[in-house]
């Protein structure tokens, strides 16, 4: 796969150089380049498919990578469609009217509103970005971004199914996720700087423009957001699949002895494995050697920070934002999980 990757990059570079200003008017060229690229990628896939593609580890990597992508695509599509619709159809002042005026109050309200977006974490990134573009204070949008994948009914039901007979785990997940989301929103109000965000998000000149068809705006916004986020999704899926294959599950048991190490270890594992928030409860339930608090940390960190999400956030909000935000969220989520676990579990 890396080989194909490189090829894509090289071919694209070549196309950019070849299609400089003088030849810009030649219409059929891009299509031709695309076809050549597709044919080239196909040839590489077929030719390289002889030896190393058939190594079991490579095949397992390929399967997991494709599985993460395929599983996430419908949710990403839902999220980007929503984001496109918010941009094109929702009046600019709707969110500012609905949310409390004071940002400090808007944060917990937006966090609780995360419960209405059913689905996993991929859907919430584009929606949060469109909320910011529509004038919602970033702190509230981030609280929504963090809480939505963890506190919606689908995910909580899955958690209850995975942990039969321990409703405390569902309650602890709900409380810890909401608390982390709200704390991160307030932390952004306190320390966050808008210049960490991509310029497009700072200027907020998007949305419906007079004289343009709303449907065309919706379609183009949808298409752009999907292609953009989709690329980062593939990148994140590749990273997650690499860790998934490289970390054999049997290694896990070595860390389960120490209560402190096990919390940190499972939090780290949640970041690396990038399991969808609708399924992570089942993975957590299978980690029987670990304390309930460590498993809670896995459930709280996973939907908020993982390699796939970091890639999506870096693409949507900018790299400067993504690494700061992800680091801070991990620290806050682990601390909140330990506290909640101590009280409820």
């Amino acid at each position: 796969m890396e080989k194909t990757d490189e090829l894509v990059g090289v071919a694209e570079g070549a196309a950019t150089v070849a299609l400089g200003p003088p030849v810009r008017r030649v219409r059929p060229r891009p299509l031709g380049a695309a076809l050549a690229l597709t044919a080239g990628a196909t040839a590489v896939l077929l030719l390289a498919g002889t030896a190393w593609l058939h190594h079991p580890a490579v095949q397992a990597w390929h399967t997991v990578c494709l599985a993460i992508t395929v599983q996430a695509l419908p949710f990403l599509l839902l999220g980007t469609a929503l984001s496109g619709a918010i941009n094109a159809f929702v009046p600019a002042d709707l969110f500012t009217r609905v949310l409390p005026k004071r940002p400090a109050l808007a944060v917990p309200v937006a966090g609780a509103a995360g419960a209405i977006l059913p689905g996993c974490e991929c859907a919430s990134v584009p929606v949060a970005s469109s909320l910011i573009r529509r004038g919602v204070t970033p702190a509230a949008a981030f609280a929504f971004l963090l809480s939505a994948p963890a506190v919606n009914p689908v995910v909580l039901t899955a958690t209850a199914v995975a942990f039969p007979g321990s409703p405390a785990m569902v309650a602890a997940r709900l409380v810890a996720s909401l608390a982390t989301a709200a704390l991160m929103g307030w932390l952004w109000l306190w320390l966050g700087k808008e210049e960490w965000l991509r310029p497009l998000l700072r200027h907020r000149h998007t949305g419906h423009r007079h004289g343009h068809s709303r449907w065309t705006e919706f379609r183009l916004g949808f298409q752009h957001d999907f292609l953009h986020a989709g690329g980062f999704l593939v990148l994140g899926a590749m990273a997650a699949a690499t860790f998934n294959i490289a970390v054999p599950r049997s290694v896990l048991d070595t860390f389960s002895g120490s209560p402190w190490l096990s919390v940190l270890f499972l939090a780290g594992l949640a970041v690396l494995l990038a399991v969808c928030s609708e399924a992570d409860a089942f993975v957590a339930a299978s980690l029987t050697g670990f304390s309930p608090t460590a498993r809670l940390a896995f459930l709280v960190v996973g939907p908020m920070v993982d390699v796939k999400l970091i890639a999506l956030q870096a693409g949507t909000f900018g790299r400067a934002f993504a690494w700061r935000f992800s680091t801070a969220t991990t620290v806050v989520a682990v601390a909140v999980s330990v506290l909640t676990g101590g009280v409820l579990l």
Partner: protein
């Protein structure tokens, strides 16, 4: 990324999803069966998006002079129209800050799209199973009497429960038939009959294993229906009992459609 390429990418991704989820069962290698309607809907939406992008003409006044004169203004204010003109993409790419034309990262989407259409990787198998922990078996309180059928088809999980939890020892001396694929045990040439289960997608896979005694290890990943009786080791009906089978007969079967559940096998149609 140019508009025709975007169109092609959307259409290919949509076609890939429809190919895996609507026309074939390939999607079952990667995600749970319940996602099928969502995958089909996504494929249709992507195809429609591609179609809409292909048939709509750009508004007339956006050609060359606009592409030259307007894009810097657009850049500065950050509200240029998505995919306005492909001239914009060029300039933006050259300046290294893409604002809203589909960015370079989108090229990566070609990989899963082409992979789904042309080179769909196989389901997870022995490589993954050998490296994973056993899925913990849920505790079951009461056990119904076993049906009289012989050999009795059982799932790997049910067999493990009967061996380790059924105080009535109904499984004793019963011939059972288990279905799964072969995972070599490694050290001593022994092997396991295994199923990989996932709750959402292949990234959260878990493994159930039953050790098989009394036959040479077949090649890894071979799907088998194995008939045999419990291999006496440990005390039957307690945790000390090993989930293991003395094999009488093992015959190759086609991989079941529902390979990723621990259910009785559904054979491919």
């Amino acid at each position: 990324m140019k508009r025709p390429v975007q169109t092609l990418l959307l259409a290919l991704t949509g076609a890939g999803l429809l190919h895996t989820a609507l026309f074939t069962d390939i999607y079952l290698r990667y995600v749970k069966a319940g996602l099928r309607p969502l995958l089909i809907a996504s494929g249709v939406v992507l195809l429609l998006l591609g179609l809409a992008a292909a048939v709509t003409r750009r508004p007339a006044p956006e050609d060359p002079e606009d592409a030259h004169g307007h894009d810097h203004v657009g850049d500065a204010h950050g509200h240029d129209h998505v995919g306005d003109a492909h001239g914009h993409d060029q300039v933006r790419d050259a300046h290294g800050h893409d604002h809203s034309g589909a960015p370079r990262i989108a090229w990566l989407l070609f990989l899963p799209a082409l992979s789904l259409l042309l080179h769909a990787p196989p389901a997870l198998g022995a490589y993954t199973a050998a490296r994973s922990n056993d899925k913990p078996v849920a505790v079951q309180k009461g056990f119904a009497p076993l049906p009289a059928t012989s050999p009795l088809p059982l799932t790997l999980t049910d067999f493990t429960k009967r061996v380790q939890q059924d105080r009535g020892r109904a499984i004793k001396n019963r011939a059972v038939r288990l279905t799964g694929f072969v995972t070599p045990a490694g050290e001593d040439g022994g092997w396991y009959l295994t199923r990989i289960i996932f709750s959402c997608c292949a990234a959260d896979s878990q493994t159930v294993k039953v050790r098989v005694y009394g036959s040479e290890a077949p090649p890894a990943d071979t799907w088998l229906a194995v008939t045999g009786t419990w291999h006496p080791r440990g005390t039957l009906g307690t945790r000390t009992a090993e989930a293991a089978l003395d094999v009488r007969d093992a015959r190759p079967v086609a991989p079941p459609v529902n390979a990723y559940t621990d259910d009785l096998p559904l054979t491919p149609s």
